[in-house]
């Protein structure tokens, strides 16, 4: 199978701008809302969305946090090696907030399940919405659905969706490649 690009840098920018306007429609001035990026790859997207939102709203104090879910995963001891954690940086209470949880790819839904668990340890949010760049809708293991979706992809399990960012990989790009694992 040939790797194919499903989002390039230009389209990705459009998508992020669209996310921002959808979010403003829902959350108005973000006084009660917070963006939480899931470590490690969701944070890249959350960074972009947070930056763009701050520009559009001309507001510097939009609540933004990073959540690590490693210790909450349900595949511990199923994988041959333990996962190494990243930093959780949430400098505000989630109590009573409207949370926008951000990840790059929604696949089985297990990461998001872990994230919901992890989040509860930082307070009880009023509600939680999910924002993802790519939704692989055919492979869900759990009843989890995203509210804001960049692109829906109908891929098969032997394929893998790879999201690349300028900061870490040199260019903004979303690929479908063959999964060799």
């Amino acid at each position: 199978m040939q790797p194919r690009v499903i989002l390039d840098s230009k389209k990705l920018n459009f998508t992020i701008t669209r996310f921002c306007h959808q979010l403003i429609e829902q959350h108005k001035d973000f006084s009660k809302s917070a963006i939480i990026g899931v470590q490690p790859r969701g944070v890249m997207l959350a960074d972009r969305v947070h930056k763009k939102l701050s520009e559009i709203l001309d507001k510097k104090d939009i609540n933004y946090g990073k959540l690590d879910i490693t210790f909450y995963r349900d595949d511990f001891r199923i994988k041959s090696k333990p996962m190494i954690a990243d930093k959780t940086e949430i400098e505000f209470s989630l109590e009573g907030k409207n949370i926008i949880l951000v990840d790059d790819v929604l696949y089985t839904g297990r990461t998001i399940r872990s994230a919901l668990d992890a989040m509860l340890d930082y307070g009880r949010p009023d509600d939680v919405e999910l924002l993802v760049l790519v939704d692989r809708r055919l492979h869900r293991h759990l009843p989890i659905q995203a509210k804001y979706v960049g692109k829906i992809v109908d891929s098969i399990t032997t394929e893998k969706v790879k999201v690349e960012w300028k900061e870490t990989d040199g260019a903004d790009k979303v690929w479908i490649i063959e999964d060799k694992d």
Binding site: F71, P82, K87
Partner: protein
């Protein structure tokens, strides 16, 4: 993603530098968890851990137990007093019987050096050594290294001094390989009768004079005089030991450098360490205890994650 090279944590001499880095890095994450209002994660919720303490302990046992509970593991506690060990059951039988109840990991302290090695050869569970005789006390070594790293940023290039009874000390047994692997220089200081004969083969130096040794070091780990392990007289009296090797404020103040003082506990106040030092800003003794929980969580997590 990465993993430890070992299935058990029996001694730091068996670990590689990358293993130690990995444990430190994971401990950083757990330290963050311990600062939160909810100090618990569900990582080990399907794991049962037996704490087998064939020898007395306060700090280590509580620290391990807390680390296990913070990781949501189920724990059972065993201490030799009040058990069938008194009726003559062998070590291996005791451990096998406990494992028959479906225990995944064993934390073990024993007064005989090598007891965890012996058990590891016969059973399948992961073993964490919580101190065996005069051999090693790996989690203590790790938390010592971690506390120094926290204070100085890295261990490389530091001058690390261990004062006291090196011969009977499992803390020295773990600190020495850890510090050397991480690139620190190690010196030992104490009465010649309490220094192992071939200590320099390990790559450490020996200095009998306490003042000279202190002038050399950045960090001094003061060990407890363990009278319970001495079957013959190695030192004439505690009073004499204290005169020659006791660390006090007057001595430290007379040295131009500000030395960081550590102690694995419990302290014999007034013998190896005076209260005016133990409770001063120079000492990181309570930070050592605090870091102990994060280090033990990291070790349990990394060993428990191996399939």
């Amino acid at each position: 993603m990465s993993a430890l090279s070992q299935k058990h944590l029996i001694g730091l001499k068996y670990l590689q530098k990358s293993d130690i880095d990995l444990i430190f890095q994971t401990a950083d994450n757990f330290k963050d968890v311990l600062q939160r209002p909810i100090k618990k994660v569900p990582s080990l919720r399907d794991i049962t851990i037996a704490n087998l303490f064939f020898e007395d302990s306060t700090r280590t046992r509580i620290s391990f137990e807390l680390a296990e509970k913070r990781l949501s593991a189920d724990t059972i506690n065993f201490s030799a007093s009040g058990s069938s060990v008194k009726k003559g059951e062998t070590l291996l039988d005791t451990v096998r019987n406990i494992l028959a109840m479906k225990v995944d990991m064993i934390v073990m302290r024993h007064s005989s050096s090598g007891a965890p090695n012996f058990i590891a050869k016969h059973i399948n569970a992961n073993i964490l050594n919580a101190g065996d005789g005069t051999h090693e006390h790996p989690t203590q070594g790790l938390l010592d290294g971690y506390s120094v790293r926290e204070k100085f940023g890295e261990l490389k290039g530091l001058n690390y001094l261990i004062i006291g009874d090196i011969k009977h000390s499992r803390v020295a047994g773990s600190d020495i390989p850890l510090m050397l692997k991480m690139g620190a220089k190690v010196k030992v200081c104490g009465p010649p009768t309490l220094i192992p004969k071939y200590i320099e083969e390990l790559g450490v130096t020996y200095e009998p004079n306490l003042r000279k040794a202190l002038e050399w070091c950045d960090v001094a780990n003061v060990l407890r005089i363990q009278l319970e392990r001495m079957d013959i007289k190695f030192i004439p009296s505690l009073r004499e030991y204290s005169l020659f090797y006791g660390v006090n404020k007057e001595l430290l103040d007379s040295i131009p450098k500000k030395i960081t003082i550590m102690h694995p506990g419990p302290i014999n106040r007034g013998v190896e360490l005076n209260s005016d030092v133990a409770d001063s800003k120079q000492s990181i003794i309570l930070q050592q205890v605090e870091n102990g929980v994060a280090i033990r969580m990291a070790a349990l997590y990394l060993l428990g994650g191996r399939n």
